[in-house]
Every structure is written in structure tokens, then in C-alpha cells.
Amino acid sequence: MATQHSRSAARLMMAPAVFVLLVWMLVPLGMTLWFSFRQYLPLRGGDLGFAGWDNYVRFVTSSSFWPSIYSTLIIVGGVLVITIFFGILLAMLLDQPMFGQGIVRILVIAPFFVMPTVSALVWKNMFMDPTNGLLAHLWRFFGADPVVWLSDVPLFSIVLIVSWQWLPFATLILLTAIQSLDSDQLEAAEMDGAPHLKRFWYIILPHLSRAITIVLLIQTIFLLSIFAEIFVTTGGAFGTRTLTYLIFQRVLESQNIGLGSAGGVYAIILANIVAIFLMRIVGKNLDT
């Protein structure tokens, strides 16, 4: 087995990766923590001294805090429900025998590779524009008044755009999980005359539960920090200001670093709560 020599060599080989990640984590995190306890306004006097818990209290008591939590929950929750529900259906469909399976798979996966600014802008202008957008054409074709998507139903519109981007991810992972299902078991159930719904409920869904949990956790972490999709569509207007976007505005737009950093600490704590569950699953998988 591994000798003393190879052990120290191994440690040496790990060092650069561990070192850069440690610096990358500790330095900015330490700075954010420090700023969050300061009254720091670069454009209005600079660092005005120790602020205690002031920033933390002001961040959660400001009038934009609860609306931002609300939009964050709607966007993250809406996208999760849509992508997982349709992801399961789509994965089961793609698992069936058909002609041109490979091509259909490619078509379904493609949106994931479109850069966020492109998908947001294409949806915003070419589909959701109230005068010339394709959806406006469609609405007029049926004699309805076009919807002004991004100001009438802004949260729904953003959920739609982001779901389109993330559906491929959910589908692909659930499909991978379905394909590992033992087909003998399904066949046996079929022979015993179990109807489709029962087979889905008692065999397929339990088998998928782990994959669904993983999709749920990974997507939550990424969705909590979506930025570009809001940046180029509404710019945080019409009640689409998520927690991430609120912090961004506090920090870079109004340059209230102390307040924004306190918000940042909240966001980090929130993400870590989700991350703990994900790590547990991933960690368990490492042991096997």
C-alpha cells in the first residue's frame, strides 16, 4: 500500500488546490463579515466606524426585505415545481422506445447550454415583447389582447424563462436515474397487472426519490443566486427583486457596503442550510 513517501507526495500535490480555495473562501468571507459590522459608504464619507448589529437589523427591517424574500421564494419554488414535475414526465417519455431518440434528447437538452443573458434577452424581446413578440402575435391571432409579460406578470415570466433553462438539467438527471431502474421489476409488475399509475407510484417514483432530492438541492443552490436573468429583463423592477438582486443593488448601485454585506451574510447562511443537506447525500455516496 501507500508508503510514507507517497503520502507526503500526495499531500504536496493537494496543496495548491487546497491553498487557493482556502484563500478564495477566507479572504472575501472575512472582508464581508468585517464590512457587515461597519458603517461603510464609499461615496458618502467612506468608513464611518463600527456599526454593531445595525446593518443586520436594518437589512431585515427595510421595506424591500420581505418583498425580496417573497420573490425569491416564488422564483425558486416555481422553477423547482415546474422543472421537477415536467422533468419526471419528460424523462419517462424519453426512456420509451422511439425513432430518433438521440436527436430528441439533444433538442431537449439544448437550452441548458444557452448563456443566461441570451436566453433572457431572447425571451424578453422576441417572445414577450407586447407589440412585436411572438406571443403577442399568437394572442392577437386568437383575438385576445397581448399580455405585457414582464410588467403584468413579471414573476411568472421570470419563472418561465428560468424553467426553460433548467428543465434540461432536471430531465437529464432524472433520465439517467430512470435508466438505472431494473426493468425486470417493472416487467414483473406489468405481468401482475399493476396499472400504469400504480407502477409509477410504487416502483418508479421511489426509485427516483434520490435523484429528485439531488436535483432539488442543486437547483436550489443555483436558483438562489440567479442574477443575469433579472439584470437584463426587469432590472429588479416590478417586484422581481430577489434577495440576490437586492444585495447587488445595495452594494454596487447605492454603495452601502455595510448594509449590503450584512445581506450577503444572510444569503451565505441561507445557501449553507441547503448545502448541508446536499453534502450529506454526496458524502454518503463517497463511502460506497
Binding site: A10, R11, M13, M14, P16, A17, V18, V20, M25, L29, M31, T32, F35, L90, L93, Q96, P97, F99, G100, I103, L107, V108, I109, A110, P111, F112, F113, V114, M115, T117, V118, S119, L121, W123, N125, M126, N132, W164, L167, I173, T176, I214, L224, S225, F227, A228, T244, V251, L252, G260, G264, I268, A271, N272, A275, M279, V282, N285, L286, D287
Partner: protein
Amino acid sequence: MARAVSSRRKAINTAVAWAIGLLIFFPILWTILTSFKTEAQAIADPPIFLGFDWTLENYRIVQERSNYMRFLWNSVIIAGFSTILGVIIAVPAAWSMAFVPSRRTKDILLWMLSTKMLPAVGVLYPIYLICIELGVLDNRVALVVIIMLINLPIIVWMLYTYFREIPGEILEAARMDGASLRNEILYVLTPMAVPGIASTVLLNFILAWNEAFWTLNLTAVNAAPLTAFIASYSSPEGLFFAKLSAASTMAIAPILILGWFSQKQLVRGLTFGAVK
């Protein structure tokens, strides 16, 4: 054993799946088609699908007006170098964790993963400030380093899961035969590791190419990649659909093609080996 399926059922599956697949792909298809239209045809009501005069005019205009090549070049450099740098740092680490595991290996891997979970906005100002202090705001080197650090945990994880699949017995045999550590890595390990490294490079290049938080917040003119180029179309140029489409097509085409090769790696890379 394959399940016997009636041809009628297969035909229905095919029809439904293709319909849904095309529906999902439609926004991309529509963007590509619109990029070859004139501005008037792009907003025509009823919409024109294929019966228009195909033109390359939009591509020419976008190139001339916005210096597209510079943005493309920045994207290539940032995505390319951040990936290469990441792999150079990650290969030794993943190798040692896969072949010389210690009690701490699991903790280190999970800790690396946890740095990936850090919300970028939480450290936005510190990074911004550091860039200003070092004079590297709107600088490509800074973005290369930052995006490398963002993706490093994924790179280490992917390589680790690939390396773990290489049977350790082969290494033992090479050692028995008196191969030095250098030869062992060079002649035994490398050939077996190349496919995994290639997959890792591919997926992380895509992730780096599409990264749109740091590239939007830390660049202005000089280092701006395609993500920022497209964001500049937000308004009012975005209302020129044909030009927006041409710019978008140019920004996504290379990655769409690479992406189709990396479907499998996507699952492994983004679930950290938890779904296989």
C-alpha cells in the same frame, strides 16, 4: 431483455416526444431563423417561418458595429485559460485523493464542494474592492483567476470520480515492475486518464463560457466577454430582433455544438458523482 413494444405505441411515443422536443428547442430555432431575416421580416405579423429572403446582413452589421471579435476573443481567453489553469491545479490534487486516500480525503472533497455553494453576491464587494486595489477591474487575467476558482471544485470532483474508476491494481503492477512515480504517471496513468480529463475540460469550458455574474459585474470594455456583449443589447438595440438574433446566435453556436458532446459529463459534473 428488451421489452416488446407494439409499433403503434412506438409511433405515438415518437410523435409526442418530437413535438415536445421541438417545442422546447423552438426559442433557439426561432433565434437562428430570425438572424437571417431583415428587420421588417423579423417582426412581421403573421410571423414568417421559412419563406423569407435569407440574408447575412445582420451578421455583417453586428460585427462592424460592436467589434464582436473582441468580445469573442475575451470569451475564448477567459473560458480557455480558466479551464486550463483549473485542470493544472486540480489534476495532482484529484490524483492524490483518488490513489493515496487518507482519513481526511472525504472531508477535503466535501469542503471544496462547500466553497462552490458560497453565493457569489455575498462576496461581491470584497472581490470588487480587491480588483480595484490591484488595478485589475475590467481585466482578463482577473476574470481568468476568479472563474477558475469558481469552477475548481467541480473540476477536482469530476477528475476524482474519473480517476477512481482507474483500477488500482494496474498501478500496483507498474510499481512492482519498478516503475518510478514519474513513469507511473506518464506511461500508465495518463493514457487512462485522458478521456476523463477531456470530459472535464469540455464541461468546465462551457460553464466558464456562460458564467454571467462576475463577467457582468467586473468588466466594462476591455475584458467584457460575450455574456456582457449580449447584455448590452438589453435596450434599445434589443428591439432590433434580427440583429439581436444574429448576435445571440454567434454567442451560443460554439457552445451548443460543444454541449451536445458533453451530455453525459453534465450529469457527472453537476451532481458530484451522486447520480451515475
